[in-house]
């Protein structure tokens, strides 16, 4: 008598992507915070990252923070610009609209600038993590 074993269905194993695809996902995650995780079907991670980054960015603008522009004269401005640029499309859209002029006369304006830079750097961290997940280095 032949017996057939019934094994419980297991979720399909994640197939690591190619380096090019992982890089593309990383760029997508930089442009739109959280998008890389969502494309990898990591829904909860993507939602948490998107909410965190967007909320910090919007709060930074609401607190009258300054979005740095390209300025080769001051090292701190350059670093701030790099941090802001890491926000991806939200930074570009806000700059094109003239948002983020900053208000030096309020305490929260300084905090807002830090929120904007920090959200960009956190977004960069998330984009790097998306690459690791896509390459299978991290679950």
């Amino acid at each position: 008598m032949s017996s057939t074993e019934i094994t419980p269905a297991s979720p399909p194993a994640f197939q690591p992507l190619s380096v090019a695809a992982a890089n593309a996902l990383s760029v997508a995650s930089w442009l739109v915070p959280g998008l890389g995780y969502l494309l990898l079907r990591k829904w909860i991670r993507g939602a948490l990252i998107a909410v965190s980054i967007f909320a910090m960015f919007l709060l930074g603008l609401g607190m009258q923070g300054q979005l740095f522009a390209v300025n080769g004269k001051n090292l701190l401005d350059i670093l701030g610009w790099i941090g802001d640029l890491c926000n991806g499309l939200p930074y570009m859209i806000a700059r094109m609209a003239g948002d983020g002029a900053g208000n030096l006369y309020t305490v929260t304006g300084d905090y807002g600038s830090m929120f904007l830079v920090a959200s960009g750097l956190l977004n960069l961290l998330a984009a790097a993590d998306v690459r690791d997940v896509a390459l299978g280095r991290k679950p």
């Binding site: 948490l48 990252i49 910090m56 709060l59 859209i93 094109m96 609209a97 807002g112």
Partner: protein, 74 residues
């Protein structure tokens, strides 16, 4: 078009006024979430690490605040 989109997105955002401590709490919350997701792998470890980062942000801020208080000229 992008300018219009930005206006639609950001114009309703009123000027946010909050205390410094509230700003620290919000910053710590979001930064801890991102740190936990990106620097730990298992969900349980992520929650534990996120809570640890959040506590470190807050305790570090309070300690730094007291140090600055005693350093300032009276």
């Amino acid at each position: 078009m992008l300018a219009g989109l930005s206006l639609a997105l950001f114009a309703p955002l009123a000027v946010v006024v909050m205390s410094q401590f509230t700003a620290v709490i919000i910053f710590a919350l979001f930064a801890s979430v991102v740190f936990a997701i990106t620097l730990r792998e298992e969900p349980r470890a992520q929650i534990r690490y996120g809570a640890f980062c959040f506590a470190c942000f807050l305790v570090g801020t309070v300690i730094a605040g007291w140090i600055l208080y005693f350093l300032q000229p009276h």
